[in-house]
Symmetry: C2
Subunit: 297 residues, 2 copies
């Protein structure tokens, strides 16, 4: 990664961390609940979704501060989905990012409720977005509608349902792509689109952002499968080879390690093509896309 991009990511990430800390303070709420929300929300991570919102918005003249509520809402929704996915009745995971999962620390009931509270908080924070002068209520409202659609039954939650329905069976490529495009792709697309939507970008430009994000998300997911086989457990924070032990279809089981890597790189190429019309203005999104198939975690 080049130093300019590294510096950019560190800077925006610090701003996101500060905002997440502030938005999750929840004064007047039960302390143990707030502790559970913050345990998962402030557990580090790349903050990729918030940074995608910010990078897209900056391309169209807004600042990171202008879209920070929406950027943080994306991370809250991502985090709630991880808490619920880890529950014993779902994937039953004990570890997440190298730490005990929410229900292991706070109990199942609190984990369910912490997830519910984070999802709800995301929309409260989004609604604040309308008070940002350069965004305004109409765009903020459209952003809420798009994010709710992406996170709901026709998006992320639907993807989790399909994932569970295919458990123990070998999904084919078409089904695997459908699950990923819903389960993780929908939020990536919302993140990049919303940057443009909040900035009032032309619909043709929002469509370009959408196209970029769809291929970006695919590359990201394929590379996750690659790292599950080839990655370093100490870096990824989860056991290597976990997918294989669970007999899940992955891009690696379908195409082999090299075939999967090739497909990830092809997806990055298509993502870059989608935003080529933006030229140098798209340098952060370009850099992030290249980094996706370069990362070790």
């Amino acid at each position: 990664m080049n130093p300019e991009l590294r510096h950019y990511l560190a800077d925006r990430r610090a701003a996101v961390e500060e905002a997440l800390d502030q938005y999750s303070a929840c004064p007047g709420s039960p302390p143990r609940l707030v502790e559970a929300m913050r345990y998962s929300l402030l557990a580090g991570g790349k903050r990729l979704r918030p940074i995608l919102v910010i990078a897209a918005a900056e391309m169209f003249g807004l600042s990171a501060a202008d879209v920070m509520p929406t950027a943080c809402a994306l991370e809250m929704i991502h985090t709630y989905s991880l808490i619920h996915d880890d529950l014993p009745c779902m994937d039953d995971d004990d570890l997440r990012r190298g730490r005990p999962t929410s229900h292991k620390v706070f109990g199942e009931a609190m984990a369910v409720l912490a997830g519910d509270a984070l999802l709800t908080r995301a929309f409260a924070v989004m609604a604040e977005q309308g008070r940002v002068e350069r965004v305004g209520p109409a765009r903020a409202l459209r952003a809420i509608a798009e994010l709710a659609e992406a996170a709901g039954a026709a998006g992320m939650v639907g993807g989790q349902v399909e994932d569970l329905e295919w458990e123990g069976r070998q999904a084919g490529e078409e089904q695997l792509e459908r699950i990923h495009s819903l389960k993780t792709g929908a939020l990536f697309r919302a993140a990049v689109r919303l940057g443009g939507v909040l900035a009032g970008a032309a619909e043709s430009d929002v469509a370009r952002l959408d196209d970029f994000a769809a291929h970006f998300g695919l590359a990201f997911q394929i590379w996750d499968d690659v790292l599950d086989v080839a990655g370093d457990a100490a870096l990824t924070g989860k056991g290597v080879g976990r997918d294989a032990r669970q007999q899940k279809s992955t891009y690696v089981t379908l195409h082999g390690l090299e075939g999967a890597q090739e497909r990830a790189r092809a997806a990055v190429q298509r993502a870059l093509e989608a935003i080529a019309p933006f030229g140098a203005n798209g340098w952060v999104l370009q850099g992030l896309a290249k980094y996706v198939v370069d990362r070790a975690t």
Copy 2:
């Protein structure tokens, strides 16, 4: 209940049922997930929260159709909270409104996800509200912010956490009122307030609606405790005396049956006083408040 009010409630309830059916169709989503969402959402019930939104909005010149998305969002959030509350890791209930609970029919994982999807759908539907010409994006956005606040960590979810924390211990009156004001009161208040907010009512009138709803919610909750002891199991759809067997503090254990009834009637009185300035215009809210301590279910 007088015939005029009975007719009004039947009419608005039918409109709510139709809108809920339409808003929960979720084309393109996994069929089993949609089935689970609709199993709980379309299970009947009084539709009290949506009707409160509509009745309040009508007092300030809007029609039921103008606020239908918000009215239905309230019911979706109420429904998701029941699904999650019934989970084995929470209250572990097998029956709800006389039918098997969601997790009994669809399994725990699907029940968690159906709840998540209903909560998310509520905000998608609310965002549509901004397209209603007589509401507009600014009021719709404020409504989303208020509802998310009421449903989240400082409201409904927070109340559920406190309820769980007091399980097996006898809460005193102050604590009991706090739990109820969060767990059920916050949504009642949001319902009545939002009718006024969406209609652009003066802040002083929104404050009157809020005051009404706080006492309305309290009366409703006390009467629920009364019905748990004195009610007819066939009508309430749950076992009579359930609270006592769980050794939960209720208004009846704290004040006796007659003391609780007295307190419920006093709360209704204060609710009526709060909206007295609206005169005859407040006839639906007045009728609903009187009905609360008259109902058998």
